[in-house]
Amino acid sequence: MAESYLHDEFPEATQGGADPNVVDPEPVMGNPTAPSQDRKAVKAEQRRELVRAPSFIIGAVILLFWTLCAIAPGLLTKWGENEVIRLEDGSTIPRAAPSADAWFGTDTIGNDVYARVIYGADNVLINAPISALIAVLAGAVLGLIMGFYRGWADEILSRIIEAILSLPVILLAIMVLVVFGSSRLVIVLTIAGLFTPVVARTVRSAVLTEAQLDYVTSAKLRGESGWFIMMREIFPNITNVLIVEFTVRVGYAIFTVATLAFLGLSGGDQTAADWGVDIANGYSLIQSGQWWVSIFPALAIASLVIAVNLIADSIEKVYKA
């Protein structure tokens, strides 16, 4: 599971190779005739199972650490993101290797790389979840309508979705950013827009499965409106799909946000600490021996995406068990 440009084409990958066309004979959460306590009990059990899973715990701890950095970076470092380190005698130490004065060394200006890693967390941690959330909401609406009503609109939208998914997300993102200019808002909306098709496709196929079940048929026979059936009958039964989809999308969104920053397309203040920007500024120094400028932010990105994927994977396992 690496990136959406990558891997969304094959939902089977996350379903352990099960044939997606075969309807699950016992849908985990698709039984509305069961008393609501049962559903609550199942959910509580799922939650208990989740917080006991080692991969979830490891992922959550790492994610909490970076969230703390994003919220209150000042708690973890005495230096500012653009503050040149001064020793007690007032001297500066640019290009210093990691030492007791600067744990992760200093960059060419003399800033503390550790402080920049701590302060650099907020860009991805704010932008990625917001874009994933917008994508999941928009994709859910689109997928519900497509899967419930079918027909020619579904046919056309499906073709357009296939076409958009055939191009790498990063490529389309670059095109959109060149056209509209890059700012935080444009980046968030672009990533959200580019992730919407894949969410819509996943939701659509979940809705197709649900729509064949008896409770939907009986709601139709009761003469309920399409809107009611979608929102009150089908929607509660696909929330697990949406939660899994959201966590997976957050991972991909971090990937995309960081890549755009690395490519110099993140817009805004380019001197503010940002992992992608800092790697871009530092990677050419690796060959002259100053590896610390780029390697620490690189490890930060790696740890965050691994954490998010561990969480996503354990949530998926629990819900599909």
């Binding site: 440009y5 891997h7 055939s166 670059i174 200019g181 990105i301 790696a302 995406v305 994977d313």
Partner: protein, 319 residues
Amino acid sequence: MVRFILRRLALSIVTLFIILFVVFALTRVFPSDPARQLAGPFAPQERVDELTESLGLDDPLVTQFFRLVGDVITLDFGESFSQPGVKVIDLVRPALWNSAKLVFLALAITLPISIVGGIIAARKKDTIIDRSIVSLGLASASIPDFVSGVLLQFVIGVQLGWLPAISNTPDGAGFFTQIEYILLPALAILFVYFGYIARITRAGAVTALESDYARTAYMKGLGTTEVVRKHVLKNALQPTVAVTGTQMGYLFGGLVGLERVFNYPGLGNLILKAATAPDFPLLQTSVIFVAIIFMIATLTSDLIIAWMNPRARLDVGDN
């Protein structure tokens, strides 16, 4: 089979048409005036008008769209904005060739390793070996390509000094020297794809190993290796083939960050240059080429699957 190929081809062309339309729509909302950009900021208005006229920018949008379709058919995309006088196609061709070299080397490494990993995981299902392959794969696959690239460059290229840290292959380098220079970015691609392809192969192999035909093969007395080789592989590898096809677009056009790290002159690097210039004809053409490659790759992988599994020939187009 002919019928299958024709239907599949028609589907590809429809998709390509939609992509062209998306690219075209994006180009048309481009806020800056391409003619002004081409003429330069201080050029007289007459010159800009002249260019607008010659580029056909004031023609109706429908005419402009079909001109783009014509460009694709004739593979003639006009001149670059950032390098006037140079044909766009002459910039794209060498980049495409460089990308192809990297992609083929990467696949030559990634596919065998990941397939073997996936089959081992399937045969040792639910053991510690299976779990480590799956979790290591998941971890490495979630790291962005440029991050793996930077880490590999540091460890293997600089600290250990085993391979060139930058992929600036010398001119006229021989086959093996070329491989040496692009081995690091290819390894970064292995990082990204190992987990994914191993997982897909594992899933396919688990289903195949538990199938009736595998049981029959066991019962007629074949050993495990024989069963895997003769019966399981052909069925288990179908998802792997399909996935490899769908990833070609990403491998050719999505490795923008990775190519930047290694300063490798592939399609990704060209796209980044076109975006920062900005050179819209160049950007548009590169994107169209990525789309064409994706079409050819998925078509090929579908044909391979149809050859592997006759049942797949029946259900084209209705997914």
